[in-house]
């Protein structure tokens, strides 16, 4: 227990108080995030299953094939996936303690996430104007609930990333590599879920139409 010594050197905001206890050697926060992501898989699994079960069961239009816009969503998906690359660069930078680069990459990750949310707002507005509403049919109910939940995850992630960006100007980033990595795990997961959602909603809809 080299504990008393290490604590004294730490900043009051130090996050590592418990990590000396780690039986596995993996930081507590990382274990918790992996467990949370397992739980989140079930969240999205339920939403995606509901969408698939209700697919083609709407009694009134507009039907998905009439409104889904693959080129626009491909662009927004590309932005979201590129944000994962930027997130990886942020984690690498904080691991090197290169704070300037870290700030740049984490800021851009958040911006790319915000651009994705912008696309989503545009898409929702566009769909509503074409008659797809939560109340209108099953497609509307399932589409908005599922993509809305995903959008909420992205929005939480964007707040989280920007918070770290701002914190890096006045807080001590020395022992924060684990925290950034944990935020990264979350961010990559949200991106991976989008790949599944994009496939299920947008790509599968047009199987047999284009080929």
């Amino acid at each position: 227990m080299s504990h008393a010594a290490t604590v004294d050197q730490q900043h009051p905001h130090a996050e590592h108080h418990h990590e000396e206890h780690s039986y596995t050697g993996i930081p507590n926060k990382k274990v918790m995030m992996w467990a949370f992501l397992a739980s989140d898989c079930m969240f999205f699994g339920t939403l995606i299953s509901t969408y698939i079960i209700y697919h083609g069961k709407s009694l009134a239009g507009p039907y998905p094939a009439e409104v889904l816009n693959i080129p626009v969503t491909t662009a927004s998906s590309f932005v979201l996936l590129m944000s994962s690359l930027l997130m990886a660069l942020s984690v690498a930078a904080i691991n090197r303690q290169d704070i300037t680069k870290f700030r740049l990459w984490i800021f851009l990750t958040g911006v790319f996430g915000a651009i994705f949310l912008g696309f989503q707002s545009y898409e929702f507005t566009e769909f509503v104007s074409r008659g797809v509403t939560l109340q209108n049919n099953l497609f509307g109910s399932t589409f908005y609930t599922m993509t809305g939940t995903h959008g909420l995850h992205v929005a939480i992630g964007v707040f989280w990333l920007f918070s770290w960006f701002i914190y890096s100007f006045f807080g001590n980033m020395k022992d924060k590599a684990t925290d950034i990595e944990v935020a990264g795990l979350y961010w990559h997961f949200v991106d991976i879920v989008w790949i599944v959602i994009f496939t299920v909603i947008y790509l599968v809809e047009f199987v047999g139409v284009t080929s």
């Binding site: 008393a4 009051p12 739980s39 079930m42 109910s141 609930t145």
Partner: protein, 639 residues
């Protein structure tokens, strides 16, 4: 740290931090060691456990009173005390309260108090998240019960099937309270599970390998994995119902093509693991009590552990046996019938292992032991009727009759509550430092056991005679009169059994015999430290070398570990978990009324959300903090 002088003058804590005072967004951190604020801001797993336990027992009383009302209404035919909707509210709230507000938090109380002690840790992995779970649980529990004073309690049964709970047939706020309350309780449960999963994986003392963990810790681990994987489906189903009710979506609206059967699937994908969430910790508790009072190691430890994990896994493969009458088709019914029968195997393995543990042991018939024995016997009865349900053809006849009511009360009261009361009696000396009175304890046990069987055994007969669940009255010529009256009398006997148990708790807390560190000659680490434990639990983190390590150390004369002179680092208290809980409560109240008056409800919801966000940032910025304690100067337990 700002208040170190205060602390030294009251508790004698030695502080080695000399940094600037830790300031949060609300000024200095809470520093009280006694009084109301010390409890509201605590991050100590033992205090949080005690608060979980007290709230759970209060809700057990409330749910019990609701049950008595139901039984009074059904005591005689054509009774008109609780008619129609009032009866629906009463049994809905009885089920919801007992499952989510009584048994689950009572289990959480044991997780909190016992698990860190059994794994040789000084706290859980995330002490503030632990406080957060408690306060969000309280927020959800209060929110659901506010409905009694706001136009009517939830009335769609604890399973909440739409369209009964849908906006078309249930336009009041009854089900809105249910939906929002259960979502908050889900957040609390998932947060607690993340915490305990991490704690058990990462916070074990050196040498405490997985296969040296006490069975209670194992069952906690399995239970928490079940919570992590089973709560999301119900949370999404509740969100879908909320979208239907508050924003006019169509998930369960048949007129727009929605399928109410989907709710049943999501509900039971959660609901069946949920009943294992309720029973596995009880199995863990019994696996601690039996070896201690048989003075033998647990028979077949690995088999018990693997059986528990297997039951947990199989819990996800049997949900549709709750839906045999829903017309799923032969293949589905057959598949779920088979998987359900398979559950009997690991359960039987456990029961035989418990019997093997007692076989040839030096049995001491203390109160905890009696409850553990009652668990085995009563759970076996409930298990047998469960196997009867797995035969789909028989289940078609039993579905929604009192036979089912008899079955699940045998596993939940005879099983879960027996084990949990046994657990209270077993760990009471560790929690309070005083033993529970044995004479009163045994008396309360027998009243409980007799009352329980009087109440629920005749329900098998009523069910086989065709009495359906959830009816508020019946005709005098149905042939159900005698047993219904008998059940009602039994319910009052059972209530007195529980009342005597509570009286014993209060009496023993004040006047009980001083317990000492190890009153039962225990086998696991919690008995190696003082009762009640000091705030830091272990002055020195133990090195574990065996299963039942403390027992082994006592046999080899290594039980007393001298303090190594190193100061002990403990996390600080915090205001923020409580504030997040309050914010979530306000947010939930706003959401419930959102369809009535956006002008009024939306600002309330946004205000609650804002408070929650503020507190989360405050929480993140203050950090876990820490103070250094000197065990020789520390006055001991804060509770």
């Amino acid at each position: 740290m700002a208040t170190s002088t205060e602390v030294i003058s009251t508790g004698g804590h030695a502080h080695t931090h000399s940094d600037a005072p830790e300031m949060g967004m609300l000024g200095p951190r809470p520093s009280a060691k006694t009084g109301v604020w010390s409890w509201l801001t605590t991050t100590d797993h033992k205090r949080i456990g005690v608060m979980y336990g007290i709230s759970a027992l209060l809700f057990l009383v409330l749910g019990g009173l609701e049950a008595l009302m139901v039984r009074i209404q059904l005591a005689v035919p054509n009774n008109d005390m609780l008619v129609g909707d009032m009866f629906n509210q009463m049994f809905t709230m009885h089920g919801t309260t007992m499952i989510f507000l009584a048994v689950m938090p009572l289990i959480a109380a044991f997780f909190n108090f016992v698990v860190p002690l059994q794994i040789g840790a000084r706290d859980v992995a995330f002490p503030r998240l632990n406080a957060f779970s408690l306060w969000v649980f309280v927020a959800g529990a209060v929110l659901i019960n506010v409905s009694w004073f706001a136009g009517g309690a939830p009335n769609g049964a604890w399973v909440g099937y739409p369209p009964i709970t849908g906006p078309q047939y249930n336009p009041g706020h009854n089900s809105d309270f249910w939906v929002m309350g259960l979502m908050l309780l889900g957040v609390a449960s998932v947060a607690a599970s993340l915490n305990f999963f991490t704690t058990i994986i990462n916070m074990r003392a050196p040498g405490l390998t997985l296969m040296r963990m006490p069975v209670f810790v194992w069952m906690t681990l399995v239970t928490n994995v079940l919570i992590l994987l089973a709560f999301p489906p119900i949370t999404i189903a509740l969100a879908q119902l909320m979208m239907d009710r508050m924003f006019g979506a169509n998930f369960f609206n048949v007129a727009k093509g929605g399928m109410p059967i989907m709710w049943q699937h999501w509900f039971w994908v959660f609901g069946h693991p949920e009943v294992y969430i309720l029973i596995l910790p009880g199995m863990g508790i019994v696996s601690e009590i039996l070896p201690t009072f048989s003075r033998k190691p647990l028979f077949g430890y690995p088999l018990i552990v693997f059986s528990g994990a297997f039951i947990g896994f199989m819990g996800f493969t049997v949900w549709s046996h709750h839906m045999f009458t829903s017309g799923m088709g032969v293949i589905a019914v057959l598949a779920f019938s088979v998987t359900t029968s398979i559950i009997a195997v690991p359960t039987g393995v456990k029961i035989f292992n418990w019997i093997g543990t007692m076989w040839g042991g030096n049995l001491r018939m203390t109160t905890p032991m009696l409850y553990a024995l009652s668990f085995i016997a009563m759970f076996t009865v409930g298990g047998f009727s469960g196997i009867m349900h797995s035969a789909a053809a028989a289940d078609m006849q039993q579905h929604d009759t009192y036979f089912i009511v008899a079955h699940f009360h045998y596993v939940l009261i005879g099983g879960a509550i027996s084990a949990l009361f046994g657990g209270i009696a077993y760990w009471f000396p560790k929690i309070t430092g005083r033993l529970m009175d044995e004479k009163l304890g045994k008396f309360a046990f027998w009243v409980f056991l007799i009352g329980f069987n009087m109440t629920f055994f005749p329900m098998h007969i009523l069910g086989l005679n065709g009495m359906p669940r959830r009816i508020y009255t019946y005709h005098a010529d149905m042939g159900w009169n005698f047993w219904n009256l008998f059940c009602t009398v039994g319910a009052f006997v059972l209530a007195f059994g529980i009342l005597f148990f509570f009286i014993n708790m209060v009496h023993s807390f004040r006047n009980g015999e001083i317990a000492g560190d190890d009153p039962w000659d225990g086998r696991t680490l919690e008995w190696s430290i003082p009762s009640p434990p000091p705030v830091y639990n272990f002055a020195v983190i133990p090195e574990v070398t065996h299963l039942d390590d403390f027992w082994h150390k006592k046999q080899t004369g290594k039980a007393n570990i001298p303090w190594d002179g190193k100061l002990i680092h403990m996390p600080l208290s915090s205001y923020y978990p409580l504030i997040v809980g309050v914010g979530m409560f306000i947010f939930g109240m706003g959401m419930i009324y959102i369809k009535d008056s956006v002008m009024f409800a939306l600002p309330v919801a946004l205000g609650g959300f804002g408070l929650m966000t503020f507190a989360i940032f405050g929480w993140a910025l203050e950090g876990p903090g820490g103070e250094m304690l000197d065990p020789t100067k520390e006055s001991g337990a804060h509770n």
